[in-house]
Symmetry: D3
Subunit: 238 residues, 6 copies
């Protein structure tokens, strides 16, 4: 029995049920999923500033999960907030949902495009930085934005699907993408039209992260402590 | 029930039992594994020339697997012979064991080293080319060789383990590796000392490929036909 | 007297006369050219799958050429099928027609575009992989396709020339190319309009390969056996 | 009169006086410097985990500085914690001390090495990530560690200088560095021996950041709001 | 008191007054600026051929400046002619105006575009080469040309401003630039519209070079003599 | 009949006879070689400063060659001084001896090392810059120096051969080179021991340049005027 804690790094439980439902569809029979939010922090994560607000609270939830005896942790947000800090602090495997998604996309095609969500202001830094850190910039055709606030997309499902299709079409036809990555953990059930009409694989990040986390647990693998070395002890005040 | 065919691209069944046993340990309960060799081709794959000998026969076995109704295929050799050709020809997901291994390694650390096996002549081209094709050259600290013929390593288990530890030590201490990838599908049960004494994750490629293949099947993903487009019909004689 | 064997890696002699005629125009007076096809394999090479079909038969023809006492070998196809395997097996210099062409193009300008031929399905993997392997991805502005089956282009010479000009124009005006590389060994006498009206050098790959091969022979150079080491002896069944 | 706020992203004022003294030496006559710590967070920053602890508090101090009417802000720590988030939130120019240092080093030579301080556990991720994000990985010869806790170095000045010289010597003689960057804001007055005996420029990051910040203010420049776009309004709880 | 010599590497004093006026606005109170032209060479620098004409005379003026006791030298042309040769020959800090501009641009955003001036023939080599040499190709979105002879732009100020705005608009909207670099030292007072209407930082290279040079002088920094080693003595005839 | 002018960019004819003799061995029967020095400039080219001294005089000799009706030009020095300026000015094909050598080396192996000559001060910039400009940095294992003045090597032939072998050995055994490039046009007949004992191809740059130049002439190819556009007319004083 594997116990995996899903840490949703936003100060709202609004997405939890949808996440659990979606992840439940892909988990192994003997995986037990728990889900938790951060109590402080931003309501949604759409830029590096939001990441800075979420990071510490997220890492602390990850630490709690390890202390509780979980076998693995998933930080469920495409910004991967706190991921690298948590990789240092934890010994159990911890994954974000961005990093596994772009690696799987790289195995499926030659160039992927990320379909980010919001906001209107098009904050590119957070996602561009992640692609760079994960070493896959040469495989990334583009990062495109639906330009909808994350907190709106579930309510405006039709617009979400339409905007996704529009941007994915440009990614494929102009940017040279052959694979699409959904750039947000809150896009549920909108990928079919892209998959079918554009004839490209669409990587939905949450389930890929789940399967990666389960695999790491079963294979006895976790982040390298030679790169993500344990933080030294010191006074840290909160 | 998922049906996955393991194609071992060498003209010998010598490894099949060991492979099935090892993969069986990590497969999902509802995965059914079948294994097959190529009937013609080389006895082992240690260089690009061996790949050229194995490639067509391997791809044909993969086609057969799809025709039989398999849900996914694993080409079980770290040279990934025929992988890209098979990605073009097949519509079901197909993975090698090198490509998933180096992507998983990239998620675990910053720089991985590949521990290749043989032969004495140190044929670098095959593995160096794969790292480049998979877009991960900047993450690869080194490719090191045990310099033992692949066909000898199971018989000389002690030497295998010793040479692995020696080369992994140099990879970590001199080349800057923080993660080790076993560069051959025929190394069984020799990674513990490296993992424990060098304090690095050791990626064993076979099981990682299996879990990746299962995930792709379950998530409805396969290679992008926009990059790996179906080959046009034409006369091909054998 | 140099003896160079041209191995045409398709199972048809349809192109041989045209190739010999074209190459004859550029060879040194004291070069003797011989030409041979593979007896098995595909009729044309338009994707990685075709490469897999041609590779072994091609390498065997190369081996035969060395055994016969040739001084150098040219694998005459822009997919360079079997090239790296043959580099391992042979000691005499062996060249493809893609590799010299893109290196010459890199000496002439800053960014080259490759004008590939077919088929309709636009199989990008074969050519994209070669550019990457040859270390010149940063110099490649684009790979564009005439989208005509290779076996049709000689019969539809006007369409071939028109499509070439159309795609080269886009390469220069939109992709930033300053140099054009013909991405197929079967395009004869169609480059003038591109050269003159677009004011760019057009690299025709066959003659460049011939002159490279002659130079290597005369200069006593051949592929490095430290990278393309000789394959170890082993049982290989066909 | 320029007003620049130095935000020291650690929960101790131990370094403030030394910093002000050092920066005072290089500031323009008409620059007014103020310095502030974060009240919560870690005592020192030696890894990504420390960054996660410091980030939010640091960004908030930066926001306060802008609200107070400062003309520019310096986040005074070589980890550049919160820098990219603050670049999004602020409109006035904000610099870290790592980013200007590595760009100046790139103008002085071909390959720089960073001399990081601690701790014993050699946490590479924080500094390796920054080099990558700043686009200068190809110019970085190595990151080397004094392996002393940051909080000890001022007390063990002799050891600090000795270890610095040792590591810089290896950087120059073995790693190919021609320029040295001090990888911590708390190394004062220890660079002379390296400069003189190794004959390399030694970039001390604090003063470089100060001069960069002054220049940006005077030239009317600040971070691009097209990349570091202003964060959207939303509920963020602390 | 810092003494900085501005070497204008063209055989005309036409720009000197404008340069001095502009630089005077940004210099420190205790910086003394002197300006000098080369007596031989081209009237303007718009291509690599012009650089070849200017280089030796430029380097000799730089040597003279050092001999006269200057503290620093600025080669005032965006082609940076003779910069690397002068870095070898001189021990005092020497900067071009291209190199500091693109490093500052890289600190401000993610992708910069260079707005070059002339001539009509669009000579890309000079500027493309510099971006590559400075290690910032991955940060350069595009190099665009006003396609006006440099010697015309001051006389046709309106056209200059209009063309700049046109090209900068394309750079931002199509090439993905978030930061603009003026690619010529002779563009004075034309950047405001770009800055305000396109909402991007516009890096004017002259003042950035001046502030960089002053900073290097004050911080005791100069080009690394381990990379830019002093030229050996030998007979050199002119 | 092809007429090729060899421009030796040093103000001494000391090497001309040796060069002509060596090149004569590899030229086509119907190639007519002429050789010329620059009358002003440095005696040898060992650093970027020497390049600046030689460049204009070299380009002018190249222009003269074109005016005289030559079919191609070779700038005979591994620093390739003036090459890119001459590519702009000339319409006939012009090659250096560095650029063809590193491209041929890239076709022969995976990583080449350049064996530079002098001087003692190890001026890395000139050769490192060229590798970068030619787009082959990822293929260059190292640049190593014999640390002998170029003007001494012919007189100290034994030392030259010994030092070459020493440095090539380190390049192969420690730097990972599989191919050696002689990094100077004045090394004659010293490569055999490296070739035979280290089992690597040794690229001698002069003859490779000659054969490249002949091929370009015969194939109707020359540098792209879309990248190396003709310099605009203007006043240039000398």
């Amino acid at each position: 029995m594997r116990q995996i804690k899903i840490v949703v790094p936003v100060a709202t439980a609004a997405w939890n049920e949808l996440i659990l439902e979606d992840m439940g569809r892909y988990k192994a029979a003997d995986t037990e999923l728990a889900i938790v939010n951060i109590e402080k922090g931003p309501e949604s994560i759409e830029c590096t500033y939001d990441v800075a607000w979420a990071e510490l609270f997220t890492v602390q939830e990850c630490e709690k999960a390890e202390a509780e005896g979980c076998d693995g942790v998933i930080i469920y947000c495409f910004g991967d907030p706190g991921l690298r800090a948590a990789k240092e602090k934890l010994n159990i495997p911890i994954v974000g949902i961005n990093e596994p998604a772009v690696h799987f996309a790289s195995m499926l095609g030659n160039r992927f495009s990320i379909m980010a969500v919001g906001p209107d202001t098009v904050n590119r830094a957070m996602l561009a930085d992640n692609v760079l850190l994960y070493g896959l910039e040469s495989r990334c055709a583009s990062i495109r934005f639906l330009s909808m606030p994350v907190l709106e997309i579930e309510r405006q499902k039709d617009k979400q699907a339409r905007r996704l299709f529009e941007e994915a079409t440009v990614a494929v036809e102009e940017d040279g993408a052959d694979t699409i990555v959904l750039g947000c953990g809150s896009m549920f059930g909108v990928e079919k039209k892209v998959r079918n009409e554009l004839n490209v694989p669409v990587v939905v990040p949450g389930p890929v992260a789940l399967r990666t986390c389960e695999a790491l647990i079963d294979l006895g693998l976790a982040q390298s402590k030679r790169f993500f070395a344990a933080p030294p002890s010191k006074k840290r005040v909160m």
